[in-house]
Each structure stands twice: as structure tokens, then as C-alpha cells.
Subunit: 189 residues, 2 copies
């Protein structure tokens, strides 16, 4: 018998074109969130995954890595935008612990689901910016899973800053647009 | 600027040799757990990752995919044994939703951490067998994260069976051995 021994997750083809248009730095939190939301919107428009985008930046606001949801195209239920962005940042820096490279930040177009919330403390990231809320995601049909009640408090107790509701309207609009297009809500059966 | 656009997770070199010695079927739950624990032990002995192993089997007990912890060697904080096994099963079957292929089972040498618990409902797996407990993991220094209190009830309400404490002593012994060797506990700083 032979079994697969590797799996890989890849960003969509359009990513390098997007990257070519980006500034060297994203100085303000809103700049980082705007980019995360733009990634989520492009992923919907190009049909390359679910309506979620994320980016990891360093203390000077420079892009370390970006991610979009790749669940359907890469046949991987864990390929959420946050996991993709964090894993690409770790691949680039050659470490499973991003805290080795200063206080890096994750900006995500939507609050983390239960899985991504659990992944954040393991990643070594030190700040999380969130756009759309769990409720925004759930009203469009996405299942966000069962998070512990005080999830922001949990992250803070672990030394991870959290900002929620940043550019929430723009971020939630991408989710609503995805649902309106009748795009497939991809939670497992 | 250029950024990485793919990341990959790979099983260790010794995996194919292990696989060559396996039976066509693992008929009893204990057979599946014994294999998961053996993978966790081999991963420690060969120095190829953390002390965690998992396998995905079909309704007839045939191996669909297996995983071990690859956090350190693959520089990826999400490469826990369960995520690796589920992702490889999904890669093999070409779907993010394992429920398309019947009632598949995940056997894991240790209860899922908060991240892996969140990942289980997204995977389409229908039964989870657990060996060592969260406490077994934590006494050896691993941080399992903040799971919701009634985590087994949450899975059951989602139609996922859960068995805990299967071959718990054997599974916990691997964790203790890892800690005794002074191997690195890899939670992020």
C-alpha cells in the first residue's frame, strides 16, 4: 500500500499581481485591515476560495506573509486564511514560533473560528486585528464553531493584543456578497 | 518584493517503512489506537517531531492516512498530528469534506488541543478515538490551550462520536518519555 506523505497549500495565481501593487509598509492598523479585506474580496471575485483574507506584518508594518482561504481549491478543511497566513510567515522565517522575530501582527478579515482561535497562541503572533464578527460570518451561513466565551480575554492573558470590529462594515460586506452570489458555504457535512 | 506562496507538510522518512509493516485492516478501536501511539513513539525515537501520532481509517478499518506532529521540522505551529492526518486524508480523497467518503474515524494518541478540537468539525470526520488526556499532556509541559468545557458533548451534538482514554497508559508513557529525554516542548513564546 502507498499513502500520501505530503500536502501543500498554495496562494492563488493572482497573488503575485496583487503583491506587486502593495506599498512597502502598511503604517496604520486600518491599512493592514484594508489589505486583508481586499484579499478576501479578490478571493471571492476570482473564485479561488472562501471570503476570508489575512496578513502578517512586522513591527514596522512591513508585510511578512499573506493568506486567503483555500479550503475548496486545495481540498483542505484547515486552510483558513489565518492558518495560511501564519504558516506562510513561519515558512518564510524558518520557525514555528513567530515571536522569535519580534511582535508580529495578524490582521484577519473576520474573527477567528474556533480552530483558528486555538491556532493563534501556538503561532507566536503578538497582536490580532479582526474585521467582520462571528455573527457577520454566521448570518451568511458560515459555521464559526464553539469558541470559549471570553476569547479575547484568553488571548490577552497569553500576552496577545486583540482589536475587533476594525473596518467591520467593509469586511462584512464581502461575506454578504459571497452569500448573495450563492457561493458554496463549505462547512463539512 | 517576493513572498512565499506555498507551504508543505511532509511525513518523516521512516513513514514508508512503518507502513510496509502494517496490516490491511485495523479491525478493533484498540488496533487503531495502538498504531497511533506507535507513530507517536517512533516520532520521538527518530527525533522527527513532537510525541503525537494519529490515523484516519474507513468504516472497514482500512488506513486512509496517518500523521505525526511536524511542528519543529516543518516550521509550522499548526502541523499537529491530527491536522496532518486529516489533511493527508483530504489530499488523498480529493475533498475538504471527509464525510463524502462514509463515516471515517480519527484515532489520536492524545486528546485534541484547542486548535485541533476546532478543526475536527470542519474535517467531516465522524468518530474520534483519544489516547492520552489533556492532563497527561500538560503534566509533561505541553500547553493544550483553552477548550470549551463540554468538548465531547460539542462533538456529539455535531454527530461526531468520541471515545477518550483508549490505551491511555501506553499513550501517556510516550509523552512522559519525551519529557524525560529533555526534548523541547515547542509551544510558542
Amino acid at each position: 500500500m502507498s499513502l500520501p506523505t505530503t500536502f501543500a497549500i498554495a496562494l492563488p495565481d493572482w497573488f503575485d499581481d496583487w503583491l506587486a501593487d502593495q506599498p512597502e509598509r502598511f503604517p496604520a492598523p486600518e491599512d493592514r485591515m484594508r489589505a486583508a479585506v481586499e484579499l478576501s474580496r479578490l478571493n471571492v471575485e476570482r473564485g479561488t476560495g472562501g471570503p476570508f483574507g489575512a496578513l502578517v506584518t512586522d513591527e514596522r508594518g512591513r508585510l511578512v506573509a499573506a493568506g486567503v482561504n483555500r479550503v475548496e481549491p486545495d481540498s483542505c478543511s484547515s486552510a483558513h486564511g489565518e492558518i495560511v497566513a501564519l504558516s506562510l510567515a513561519q515558512a518564510r522565517l524558518g520557525t514555528y514560533d513567530l515571536s522569535q522575530h519580534g511582535a508580529l501582527e495578524l490582521a484577519t478579515s473576520c474573527e477567528p473560528c474556533a480552530m483558528c482561535l486555538g491556532a493563534i497562541p501556538w503561532s507566536g503572533i503578538k497582536r490580532v486585528l479582526c474585521g467582520a464578527s462571528k455573527t457577520d460570518a454566521e448570518v451568511t451561513g458560515f459555521d464559526e464553531g464553539e469558541r470559549i466565551e471570553d476569547w479575547t480575554g484568553m488571548l490577552k492573558r497569553r500576552g496577545i493584543e486583540v482589536v475587533t470590529g476594525l473596518l467591520q462594515d467593509e469586511a462584512a460586506a464581502v461575506l454578504r456578497d459571497y452569500a448573495r452570489r450563492g457561493s458554496r458555504i463549505y462547512n463539512a457535512g
